[in-house]
Amino acid sequence: MAVLVLVRSPLPRLRAVFQRCWGRLERGLWPGVFGGQSPPWGPALAVQGAALVPGGINDASESSAEALSLLGSVMWMAAPKHRRTIEVNRCRRRHPSKLIEIKRNIDVCPECGNLKQKHVLCGYCYAKVKEETRLIRMEIYKKEGRPFNSPTVETVVLYEGEKPTEADEGKRIIERARKRPSWFVQN
């Protein structure tokens, strides 16, 4: 069963904090930052009122803020300093933990000779049984006629030329029109 664990990266938080600090600097809410002088990138003359091109000033401050915050966020990212040599790369790529494990639980099926895993059924033998089961189920469906008509007695499957024994008294008989296969032993 899989459980999703949400991991939030710290970068958006840092970015939000940075932007808030920047906003405060711009609005002059942090007077002590530059030791009494005005910020070096701000306008030299304080203009009275919002008369002269208020949109232009806002755009300039926003674009400079964006550019500088982008540079700020780039500055905080990790990046490789040196090229990893092919020797180091080979050591990492060919470490035994990264290679595919070899399976030692493969055997030969004693019935058909195909390969099989020790704890798994042989694929060929299972396909054989599955096909025969499908044909038997088709016969059952033909006998039952309509769906949801399962009987209240046991079922027995008989092949060509077989008679029901006394153990098969009272059971529903399903006939299969072929010789009994060697791997289906009659009980």
Partner: protein, 164 residues
């Protein structure tokens, strides 16, 4: 102070999480139990078969009480969605397993599914079903080395007949 268990720990949890919700998981397992009682051998992902096995065996235990039992009939009514199988359960499967003390099903793994997901599949069947057997019981052949050595040892250990 941590008041809740961390999301990724599931120590001691026995029920797998299948389907979309707990109700959906029960519906899924109910469909599988119905199919097992109808067809007596089904092929499904291994996790679902393993989960369903316990429910199927408990249902048969309930059925062994007989159809006069109120609880048994209510269980059968909930777990079998096709109602003609209730008759089959009480009249065919309960007598078949009356002498068995437990473990009425057999769960075997088959090669992974052919589709894109390569899921681990299993076939679960009721014992004593009329279908062809999945696994033939193998008897040790007499021709193996160990058996030949044991046969030779037995012959040597037997007292020899009186010499002429």
């Amino acid at each position: 102070m941590r008041l809740s268990v961390a999301a990724a720990i599931s120590h001691g949890r026995v029920y797998r999480r299948l389907g979309l919700s707990p109700r959906s998981r029960l519906d899924l397992l109910r469909n599988l139990v119905t199919a097992l009682v109808r067809y007596e051998r089904i092929e499904t992902p291994w996790a679902r078969a393993d989960e369903m096995r316990g429910y199927a065996e408990r249902l048969i235990d309930y059925a062994k009480r007989g159809d006069r039992d109120e609880r048994a009939m209510r269980m059968a009514d909930f777990w079998l969605t096709e109602k003609d199988l209730i008759h089959k359960l009480f009249k065919v499967l309960a007598p078949r397993f009356q002498t068995h003390p437990g473990s009425y099903t057999r769960l075997l793994q088959i090669p992974n599914r052919d589709g894109l997901d390569r899921a681990k599949m299993a076939v679960i069947e009721l014992k004593g079903n009329p279908l062809p057997p999945l696994v033939r019981p193998r008897r040790d052949s007499d021709k193996t080395l160990l058996n030949q050595l044991l046969k030779g040892y037995r012959q040597d250990a037997r007292p020899r007949g009186t010499p002429v």
